[in-house]
Amino acid sequence: MAMIKKLSVWIAFLLVMLALPQFSDSILSVSIYNQMAIAIIFALSYNMLLGQGGMLSFGHAVYFGLGGFLAVHTLIMMEFETVYFSIIWIPLVGGLFGLLAAIFIGSFSTHKAGTVFAMISLGIGELIAASSLIFVGFFGGEAGVSGDRTFGPPLFGVEFFQDVEIYYVAAVWVFIATVFMYLFTQTPAGRMANAVRDNPERAEFIGYSARRVRFISFCASGLFAGIAGGLFALNYEFITEENLNAATSGRVLLMAYIGGLGYFIGPILGAVILTLMNSLLSNYSDLWMLYLGIMFLLTVLFLPRGFAGFIMMHQVAWLKGSLKNLALPYLITCIPAILFLVGAIGMLEMSHSEDAIFHFLGMELDTSSTITWLAAIIFTLGSLFATSKSLPQLRDAWEEANTIPEVVKEDES
């Protein structure tokens, strides 16, 4: 029974991904789908390190980028007919290169976890990023390298001129990679990664070298990061130093963290949310990076287990059937909270605006008038006050919805 239930979740996952272009196949949508696909694999691979293995890496983009660079070079080789195979295998090329890099770097960086590991990852990240501007032959300097994915042999008549064709390839790769990363968590090596994360010392007293356990997770993580990089290369047909530098490494940490490190599905959520914010928000506001930072801060402070953790918090109420009792209390808190957000965002945008008249939600605001500012401040503080006043009722409802005599909790790590 449990088996069938699990299987149906996986099938639903695949079907939803394959069906996405049916809802919208505009250029923008497909470009977002592809970004999501890449981000999902990348974020899941990051979680193998931090969430599952307790290794905080500031340089995970190295494996993504190196995989991507080799993938683009493979595309170039196809153009010159040095190699000839269907481009659907390009992500695997990226993955193998990511794996190779991880074997080499992991052989010394996984010696210790904690600060030492974090610092080495940072150093390697900087080193590779700097090298990319030195070894111009491979990395192409600031401009990066570009290829053309249409030179490979057509697959069932598909020549991959369109991004949506790549999306289907990406969806299948996301599915395969996700399945294998999930299965990895169910193996002795995957479980011991959790054990070493929790207590590396004790792991050694039950026969496991903490270093070797970390090394295996590290290699697996490099493999999947490389696959994500290969997909990136397929989708954009070019890659630059930006794709392996610290900013990209930081972004993947953000995705995994915001989504929820402790849950397998967390990084998937994080990848989807951040890709959406990234692509949609950036169309509307120059300040989207600021909003992203604020969101990260709020997540760390109030949702330490990420969005997935927030959803899982409702498991008890769901099982108890009292979830519906929470709807109204949530609504009561959400209304002033949303008004507060509107006020805060309005003020931020107003102070950023260079025009005298600022258009915001159908209003024309005079950014130089004291009255406007005063009204905005009163509105924002007022709704903040209302939000804080609404919290006790939410807390009470929460307690009410969650009290049951004895709960058997399931570990999700």
Binding site: P188, A195, N199, E204, F205, I216
Partner: protein, 250 residues
């Protein structure tokens, strides 16, 4: 035949000599207790044998292998398992996973990433059996970090005994337990270590004199006596150094 022998083992932290030329032979199949006042170096001695600390001097032989200064995992793989005085578990994993992990190496899974644990029927049954023995079966899916103290101590014991090692070392396994909990634990230890070798640090003299075949008394890093319980009880030096205070304070 001795399964473990320490030969002039010394340990210093900086200038301080904590273990001073200790020699000790543990016979195959015996239940050996190590007693001594607080700070005598009992835990340190355990750490030297199990590989947590390197020795400053001397040799330790376990089943004909020199194990001093070897990493803990190599020593564990030879069939030496231990528990800790301060609970040392995998706190974010559930109780069942804790025990199953402790079984993995001895069940020959090594670093496998091609076996799915859910399908290893025998392994899972074995883990459940250990949970049954330590009385935590109904807590199998409970996050181990949230267990009550006595239950965490039981799990600590479970992790040590799960692998079925030949030599089991327990550092104050019943400390902090209530009387009845301790009684259960002792019974469990007796049952589980049948036919095996046990080295145990314990402060409760009733338990020690009841369980041990031989007792070593460690005082300020030196073993002042190793003998049968009745002889240790009568030993004047031991009386003076250690037992006297306990007997009067108890």
């Amino acid at each position: 035949m001795s399964i473990l022998s320490l030969n002039n083992v010394s340990k210093s932290f900086g200038e301080t000599k904590i273990i001073k030329a200790v020699s000790l032979d543990i016979e195959q199949g015996e239940k050996h207790a190590i007693i001594g006042p607080n700070g005598a170096g009992k835990s340190t001695l355990f750490h030297l044998i199990s590989g947590r600390h390197n020795v400053t001097d001397g040799t330790i032989k376990f089943k004909d292998n020199e194990i001093q200064n070897k990493p803990p995992y190599e020593i564990a793989r030879l069939g030496l398992a231990r528990s800790f005085q301060v609970t040392n578990i995998f706190h974010r994993m559930n109780v069942f996973e804790n025990v199953r992990c402790a079984l993995l190496w001895s069940s020959n899974y090594r670093y496998s990433f091609w076996h799915l644990l859910g399908r290893q029927g025998e392994l899972n049954d074995q883990a459940m059996h250990v949970l049954d023995q330590i009385g935590l079966k109904d807590k199998a899916l409970y996050p181990s970090g949230e267990l009550a103290y006595a239950q965490q101590r039981a799990l600590e014991l479970g992790i040590a005994i799960a692998s079925g090692a030949e030599l089991i070392m327990l550092d104050e396994p019943v400390a902090g337990m209530s009387h009845s909990e301790a009684e259960n634990a002792v019974e469990l230890i007796n049952r589980i270590t049948e036919g095996k070798t046990l080295i145990m640090v314990e402060h409760d003299m009733n338990i020690v004199f009841d369980m041990a075949d031989r007792i070593s008394v460690l005082v300020y890093g030196e073993i002042i006596a190793t003998d049968k319980p009745e002889n240790v009880r009568g030993n004047a030096r031991v009386q003076e150094a250690y037992l006297g205070e306990v007997a009067t304070s108890a």
